[in-house]
């Protein structure tokens, strides 16, 4: 039965769904990268994703307009980000703990709204596959890379965009300087608070899209706690990727490919305990953190509230 895993059709299936499943990680983790680069750890990603997932699903279901769903998820995520920004920037609240608070809020709130407004698990017709003319006809490659839905393509587009903004623009320079040395940035006239508000709200917006990508593009359902820890992994991926969008992409693919492999193992009924397979990316993440942390430095001001000296 194991040999079935290595048939071409199955391999293509594993790769194609692996590429697809990286989508929510990418949105959430690239958003989180911006936040952390500016010195803010947002642990509430999971909560933002859950509320975004519900908002997108509900709007898509009731209006039939998928893009309106994505937009609503973005607004919901941005509002959560705004609250997070106020609490961490203005009130100097401990970032890790307030993030847990926002997580619990999103977890409870999305469940509450789901039960009150929908009640049962329904499905929605999600974003259709887009076949890129010409490329999608290439055997294998076409199915893996060029027959995905629009939110998948956009997620991958975020990687170079994120890299470009962070490393090649004035805005990116400001974000990095606020995360490395807020005092110096402040004395040069960069508003630390404004930059951090921007990155946290951006992170929330992208987390909302991450949730939407699950509920109306990948799984096309909403369930209680449907992210089941994915948002926390997205935060870890930022460390894993050493605060670089490309590194984040690598980590996201690692998790999603192993997930996809494990799903196929179950589908094919291969008697390998899938729990152990699911465990592997987490173990690997810890090992990678151990191996890289001494060489890669986190933004100096990460988790430190900024206060102007007198």
């Amino acid at each position: 039965m194991i040999s079935e895993l290595f048939s071409v059709t199955v391999l293509i299936g594993i790769l194609a769904s692996g590429i697809r499943l990286a989508t929510p990680y990418l949105y959430a983790a690239i958003g989180e990268t911006f936040g952390q680069k500016s010195g803010v750890l947002n642990l509430g990603v999971e909560g933002q994703m859950l509320l975004g997932a519900f908002a997108a699903f509900y709007v898509a279901l009731t209006t039939g307009n998928l893009w309106l769903g994505v937009l609503t998820a973005m607004i919901v995520g941005a509002l959560m980000g705004l609250a997070m920004a106020y609490v961490t920037v203005n009130l100097h609240a401990q970032q890790g703990i307030s993030g847990i608070g926002f997580y619990l809020f999103g977890l409870g709130m999305s469940d509450l709204l789901f039960q009150k407004m929908l009640g049962t698990v329904e499905t929605v017709k999600g974003f259709p596959k887009i076949y890129i003319p010409g490329l999608s006809d290439i055997p294998g490659i076409g199915e893996i890379f060029f027959s995905q839905n629009i939110l998948v393509y956009l997620a991958y587009a975020l990687v170079p965009i994120g890299w470009f903004v962070l490393n090649k623009t004035t805005l990116g320079l400001k974000i990095r300087s606020v995360g490395e040395n807020p005092d110096a940035a402040d004395s040069l006239g960069v508003s630390v608070a404004r930059i951090r508000y921007f990155t946290i709200i951006l992170g929330g917006t992208l987390s909302g899209v991450a949730g939407a990508s699950m509920s109306i593009a990948l799984l096309n359902v909403f369930q209680q706690n449907m992210t089941s820890g994915l948002g926390f992994i997205a935060v870890a991926l930022v460390y894993f990727g050493a605060w670089r969008p490309v590194g984040v992409l690598g980590g996201a693919l690692l998790f999603s490919l192993i997930n996809s492999l494990q799903l196929w193992i179950q589908v094919l009924g291969i008697p390998i305990p899938s729990d152990i397979a699911v465990m592997m990316p987490y173990v690997l993440t810890i090992l990678v953190l151990v191996a890289t942390v001494s060489r890669v430095r986190a933004p100096s001001a990460l988790t430190k509230p900024f206060e102007r000296e007198n």
């Binding site: 870890a236 810890i286 953190l289």
Partner: protein
């Protein structure tokens, strides 16, 4: 006088935060077209309305208190332990294994060994991130989150495979659960309710943690490292060792919480595939309780009872006014946000007090952190 009022206000901050959260909850209830008074009345009734209700509240409060005690230790040491869920699971797995393996031994002995096994399992699961933080500089928030995920998969694997109930293994359904513990191995009930010995153990341990943190060298050093690691290092404290110890002890208490859930409430382990299926999110809610108790072990007792009450009352509220108990999860989140946000008020007042003290004796204002560390060392 003003100072007294100030510290009273500080002490009441969490209570104010809770009322603020409940007020937000009331607004949400109005949106859901539910009378908030009816809803909160049902909540109160469900939590305190009868002997059984109150006993349930205490049963729910027990794991929150145990996890919360661990949180008091680690947060005081400036180590953020988010791994309560995983530590509970590993503690419970190890304790259950003891309970299912040593069936020939007397009940009191197996119970004791199992509780110790739970403590040990949690200690290992907390100790690993501790070592990673102290010696490899790995952020403990991340590693504990990862350890949670690993623990869940470990539990799923064990309960579906090696530790599955033998009678389930033969059935096609294969419900992922262990065999039931022998009746003799159950934690004794404290009253003709579901309240079990675990609650009493938790309260005794709360006192023990208070003594540990404020009356022993170990506790002083953990707190000193938390207040100012650099000053502690200059004072000759081996900072890394106390970082590991803070996380290890924190995990141990969560592990014990997991063990008491199996031996006092469920009498077996069963998984629905998620962490909260076993823990009921106590690993997170224990953080809420400890923060609410201002990271003081004794104050964490009433805080745990409060959140236990909210959880139990939420079920009643769900039945009576059809408001999903998820509302309470959301409100718990708000309490956390409000409590950590209100810290700034306390800090501002503290700074003002220091500034005034500085003006009075005409000397530069003292460095609060170093001073506290010196005191801590002097006490040690």
């Amino acid at each position: 006088m003003q100072q007294k009022l100030g510290s009273l206000f500080d002490a009441l901050l969490p209570v104010i935060a809770t009322f603020a959260a409940l007020a937000v909850g009331a607004v949400m209830l109005l949106f859901l077209k539910v009378n908030p008074i009816d809803a909160y009345a049902a909540l109160w009734d469900g939590a305190f309305g009868s002997t059984n209700a109150f006993a349930e509240t205490l049963v729910k409060a027990t794991p929150l208190l145990l996890v919360g005690l661990g949180i008091c230790i680690s947060f005081r040491g400036d180590v953020i332990n988010i791994g309560g869920e995983g530590q509970m699971i590993v503690g419970a797995v190890l304790a259950t294994w003891v309970g299912l393996t040593f069936t020939g031994l007397p009940g009191w002995l197996v119970i004791t060994l199992s509780m110790l096994a739970g403590f040990l399992g949690g200690a290992v699961w907390g100790g690993i991130p501790g070592v990673l933080k102290a010696y490899f500089n790995v952020n403990e928030i991340l590693s504990t989150v990862m350890m949670n995920a690993i623990a869940v998969q470990l539990m799923n694997f064990l309960l579906r495979g090696p530790m599955i109930d033998p009678s389930q293994a033969e059935l096609a359904s294969k419900i992922p659960q262990t065999a039931r513990l022998l009746d003799a191995f159950r934690l004794p009930r404290l009253a003709p309710t579901r309240l079990h010995l675990g609650a009493l153990i938790a309260v005794i341990l709360a006192i023990a943690v208070y003594v540990l943190l404020w009356r022993t060298t170990l506790g002083y050093r953990i707190r000193a490292v938390g207040l100012n690691p650099n000053a502690s290092r200059y004072a000759g404290i081996k900072v890394q060792r106390y970082v590991v110890l803070a996380l290890l002890l924190s995990g141990a208490f969560s592990g014990l919480a997991g063990a008491t859930q199996v031996f006092g409430v469920n009498y077996r382990m069963i998984t629905d595939g998620s962490a909260s299926g076993f823990t009921g999110s106590a690993g997170f809610n224990g953080i809420v309780a400890a923060l609410f108790g201002q990271l003081h072990p004794i104050l964490t007792i009433p805080a745990s009872i409060l959140f236990g009450a909210l959880l139990v009352g939420a079920n009643k509220m769900q039945r009576v006014v059809q408001v999903p108990s998820a509302l309470i999860t959301a409100l718990n989140g708000l309490v956390v946000v409000f409590v950590v946000s209100s810290e700034i008020l306390r800090k501002r007042r503290q700074r003002r007090r220091l500034a005034i003290a500085g003006q009075e004796d005409d000397s530069p204002p003292p460095q609060p952190d170093d001073k506290k560390v010196n005191q801590a060392e002097a006490g040690a």
